[in-house]
Symmetry: C2
């Protein structure tokens, strides 16, 4: 039996916690024997003193062991992708049917949006009738039938992360690399993914702002997964410009369908293809990158990825007719044009401030209780390095309250730094680990 205060003091003073200490503290917290104020105090101490890779691995194991674990036969070579979150990041939606069309199997437990970034589950729920609250047995059945399934985290899966994440969110302890690692890896291991590709976002629209931090997190994620028997590959990608053109729940589903129908979206395509190939290679579905890449292009061009997306929608209770009839999605009452105040080149985009501004029209959430408005959002086509003319369109805002919408449009417009000298376009894929 340990004294919780002594464990807090030990971490606060910079020492390494033992397996027994971490296990005791987390388990006693879940059993409500350690109060939230001691947990938040330990979390803040971890924020400052960090954790050794061994502590992170142990914490991840304790998280996993706090609930059930889903497993798939080794021969299935399940593979999943995780994104650390960015503005307009709907890549999971197009990536999954593409990888499945190429022969992959994806068990994906996903999350909801909070703050400036959206969540895959919220986007999917913009599809009329779509459900994400399936049991383990149903999850497995959908994967068997379709090749992938995307569901929400049940109470049974990694409950430790669920309660601790909620506490981190309200105690100022989200941005801790060890805590982020345990949170991501515990879920991705417990869901049964044998292989994992992480899209680690770096830039103004991501919570990781520079490569140094990104490399540290990447190292922790990779090492923790591999120590716990999962193959992990990290792609570092640029989040200085929002991804694609649409931001908002229904808008992003529509963009996904457009893309799977063949619409040319250069950044979406580059990143999706890169991640898809990485997943197929990691899961040994392909041994040659060129073959994998060719196959990816093929399943988009011949419509087989789109067909799988349609089957997936149907399998999870959604109305597949929405693929051909976008009027089935929620729409907004008003559209407000976003006009460029000057002529020049886009030097930087504060994507985070765009994400926060869109909360005001209901496209995102400030707290987990906030209600979403699926039809609102924005279409924004400018990327860093693009040229824009004074008075020309930077995009369109979709809202249900015009007064609020006009203010949000102004905030979005001012998130773009426009300069009168040529700005080079930025690389989307930054590095690999």
């Amino acid at each position: 039996m340990y004294n919780p205060v002594e464990i807090i003091l030990k971490k606060r003073n910079g020492a390494e916690l033992s397996r027994e200490e971490l296990k005791f503290f987390i388990e006693a917290f879940i059993d409500k024997k350690i109060p939230e104020y001691q947990m938040s105090s330990l979390l803040m101490a971890i924020f400052f003193q960090s954790m050794t890779p061994e502590e992170v691995q142990i914490l991840t194991e304790v998280y996993i062991n706090s609930g059930k674990q889903i497993s798939f036969p080794q021969t299935m070579n399940t593979v999943d992708k995780h994104s650390t979150g960015g503005v307009g990041d709907k890549i999971s939606l197009m990536l999954s049917p593409i990888v499945v069309a190429c022969g992959g199997k994806i068990p994906m437990i996903s999350g909801r949006g909070l703050g400036h970034t959206g969540g895959t589950l919220d986007k999917l729920e913009a599809i009329p009738g779509f459900r994400t609250d399936y049991s383990e047995a149903e999850f497995k059945k959908i994967i068997e039938k379709i090749g992938f399934s995307i569901i929400s985290q049940s109470q049974e899966l990694v409950p430790a992360d669920k309660v601790i994440y909620a506490l981190r969110d309200v105690s100022g302890t989200v941005e801790s690399l060890p805590l982020i690692t345990a949170s991501i890896m515990s879920k991705k291991i417990a869901e049964g993914a044998q292989n994992l590709v992480i899209d680690l976002k770096v830039g103004t629209g991501a919570f990781i702002k520079n490569m140094e931090q990104a490399k540290k997190l990447g190292f922790l994620l990779k090492q923790t997964g591999e120590k716990l028997g999962q193959q992990v590959s990290i792609i570092f990608s640029n989040m200085n410009s929002p991804l694609g053109e649409n931001i908002g729940n229904a808008l992003e589903i529509i963009e996904t369908i457009d893309y799977l129908k063949g619409k040319n979206l250069p950044d979406i395509h580059e990143l999706t293809r890169k991640l898809a190939v990485e997943m197929l290679i990691l899961a040994k579905t392909f041994t040659n990158r060129n073959d994998a890449e060719k196959k990816v292009e093929e399943v988009i061009a011949d419509g087989s990825a789109l067909k799988i997306f349609r089957d997936f929608i149907e399998a999870q209770g959604g109305n597949p007719a929405c693929i051909d009839d976008y009027s089935l999605f929620a729409t907004s009452k008003f559209s407000v044009p976003i006009i460029s105040p000057k002529t020049g080149w886009v030097e930087s985009i504060n994507s985070q401030s765009i994400g926060y501004a869109l909360i005001d029209v209901g496209a995102g959430r400030m707290t987990l209780d906030s209600k979403l408005n699926y039809g609102t959002g924005a279409k924004l086509h400018l990327k860093i390095g693009d040229k824009v003319e004074s008075g020309s369109s930077m995009g369109t805002l979709f809202c249900d309250n015009k007064e609020i919408g006009i203010k949000v449009a102004e905030r979005i417009s001012s998130a773009y730094q426009i300069v009168n000298i040529l700005v080079e376009k930025e690389k989307l894929i930054l590095d690999k680990m």
Copy 2:
């Protein structure tokens, strides 16, 4: 209206909090609008990022304004003494009647023991019938009649410190200089002391282990008090050896009476006289240190300090007959001799470990709910630099359970580091600020 998480993040990221932010956070916490887990997380962030002197002053003011403030006429020149806590530190008990006999007026709000250090209120309550729970009006009446009163902190006085201190104790955030400063100074200002002498303990038996930390704390205490209209003087004193010979509640009252009757206790006398003179000068009762010192010696020698102590006991409901009849105090069932294992000189004493060991015989508390045993404790006469012979007495342990007592006696014995080379005696008074 502020967002509590944003305030936590601001401090966590090293910025200075504004008066409005600190006021909002503390007041909302007291109103139970901010939960304990956000307060403990902010406290841990303060532990790591510290506070500017301005923030400490504001925090102290917010603490004071959370409750009532007692005030005395300016002409009274009230003076109090605060000790940061040490093992065997019963100086307030002898110091108060001495200063009063010399013409001072002392409004003292005191605390209970926790961990390795005892509390003045606990010691006083070892006197049969003694009460410390007086109202402000009764407190003032006793001071008017006797010259001083020692009572406990009511719910009305600095409630912010009361609830936040309780939370710090269980969240690993006690050892923060800004938080310590606000806690001490808010109480000492709210109680109505116009002048304050702080006995800042440094050494193995204190929570401040070195002079560098001590100076930092001393500076914060002095500056905060003076900015808020209180004259503050700091005496830095050595806490490497326990103070006096007796440790334990009734035992320390008996030692106080012995001292006021004229018993020779060199360290007690040196420190008491130093603090008394400082208080009398600060409160302008004396303008000349030599005169003050002479008067201090006089009021001990002529029994007038003892008479005031007797009147004080009677005024606060205690039985003054205990001054002449020590059998009125609680005693313990057993005494266990503490024997030196070797011959040599005392090089160091782990007073903190002695304090903790005595909790096991009931002389101190591990948590605020623990029950005290007033009759237990130890008599320990050795100081650093003293010579001791193998097999000779190092002191005596007093307990009600012999088995536990023997173990505690062994732990106490092993707290003394005895070496076979001459060790110099240490200075008791280290510095002044």
